[in-house]
Symmetry: C2
Subunit: 244 residues, 2 copies
DNA sequence: ACGACTAGGTCAATAGCGTTGACATAACAG
DNA sequence: CTGTTATGTCAACGCTATTGACCTAGTCGT
């Protein structure tokens, strides 16, 4: 099951000859453009090759597989998310800024985000992001274990809502969820589904509005009031709910 | 772009002849089994047909396309999520119970959940769920607009974390994120990435633990203390963050 | 009971997919 | 100048979803 991905030399030196027409950057940019224009399932190596003015198989000189290309695309999206980040020193504000930047970038490239949000790229931009967010958490006074836990919760929250809202915005399978709702839910018998009938007029417009801002503020408030122990010891688990 | 999905007669009468070997139920069950056993990308009509002991194209007598079959699978997953639900009348407790049931069911079928969590099926089980959750919200004293908003936030939260954690548990592209982390992040130069290096031992085991329980309790607490107005009027927006 | 109909299955074929290996070409290194 | 290597093309393999023709067996109206 695609088990033996070798973690060898990440990419070998590529001395950029003069007659060269393709490049990793160009391929990644073109991939993102095609994904956004025609949907993620429309990104085929053949179409990508055609858009690049080359044969499809030329791409394999730069990426060993389509999946590796998608990881590079995902990392590019991360990079674009962070290029506007301006740290202020206020750690809560910086976290909010990061969350909003990532969320906005993901929704600006919704079809790419759907493919990218749940992937671990292991590439430079992702690594830089992890390093930075861990630094913010530790700088806020959390010890290592808490920094890790809160970093993971934070990035989970942002990515989860990004992926879901991006998916809701861009398919797949239908133009938009709103179509399915309008056609399917509007004609249900009111006596059998009284709650849907009573709230249908409220339901429809709300479908294109996200609950991410509310969830983010809840999370940040919880973080702000969480006990930070700096170098001190002492630990507690504030929620006893079982994991998994 | 797959635009004209006709919302006609959902499915025509199917009088179940005697010599019949296939059925919608059997096809859906077998699809879920194949998805969980061999991954979502391994569900092809040919393999599904072989697993059913029939020709691949026989499935088209029951579902007009693979996508419609996937919607039926998604709805089946919703149905299985709720079959254990026992309402207690305590609306916060019922919401928690629903969230945990859906989340657990999604993680019990992680590869199916990845394909299903962001789809709007418009099928019976989904409709029943929407109706029920709206009823809980309205029964809690929220007016129609608030009930809708809180229902959407709630289902967003549950589905977003379900999808993300299911994806983290089941691929795609790699056996598990842990592999990528271990191989990629372990060997980074500590002077360049001090925060990753300092927290790496904490980071790795935390990767297979979700922040869903924490996020859920935060959300439910916020809901519990939210102003409910019963039949009264009056409206307020508690968070001024821009949507979209 | 018989003829018409059709639900439900097979089979063959189409167009597209990712990927591989052989081949060509052109630029570079010694 | 010669060998090597980076970069592209081309043909082919086995896979995919989907379609249309075809066949068969069971049901229905008379």
């Amino acid at each position: 099951m695609a088990s033996d991905r070798v973690p060898t030399e990440r990419r070998r030196r590529r001395p950029t000859r003069s007659g060269q027409v393709l490049s990793e950057e160009l391929i990644v940019q073109t991939s993102m453009r095609l994904i956004e224009q025609h949907g993620g399932e429309a990104l085929s190596m053949r179409r990508l090759g055609a858009a690049l003015g080359s044969d499809a198989t030329a791409i394999y000189r730069y990426f060993p597989s389509k999946d590796e290309l998608l990881l590079a695309v995902a990392d590019e999206l991360i990079g674009r998310s962070l290029e506007l980040f301006r740290p202020t020193g206020n750690w809560i504000g910086d976290l909010r800024q990061l969350a909003v930047l990532v969320y906005r970038r993901n929704l600006a490239y919704p079809r790419t985000a759907v493919l990218a949000a749940s992937r671990v790229t292991g590439r430079p931009n992702e690594i830089k992001t992890v390093e930075m967010m861990l630094g913010i958490m530790r700088g806020a006074g959390f010890d290592d274990a808490e920094a890790v836990r809160h970093y993971l919760s934070f990035i989970d929250l942002v990515l989860a809502f990004s992926a879901l809202d991006a998916a809701a915005q861009s398919g797949p399978g239908t133009d938009s969820p709103e179509r399915a709702w309008r056609s399917g839910y509007a004609s249900l018998p009111p006596e059998q589904y009284p709650n849907i009938a009573a709230t249908f007029d409220e339901l429809l417009p709300r479908l294109s509005s996200s609950s991410f801002p509310l969830a983010l503020e809840l999370f940040l408030t919880a973080l702000e009031t969480a006990p930070r122990e700096g170098r001190r010891a002492g630990r507690q688990n504030r929620h006893g709910m079982a994991h998994r």
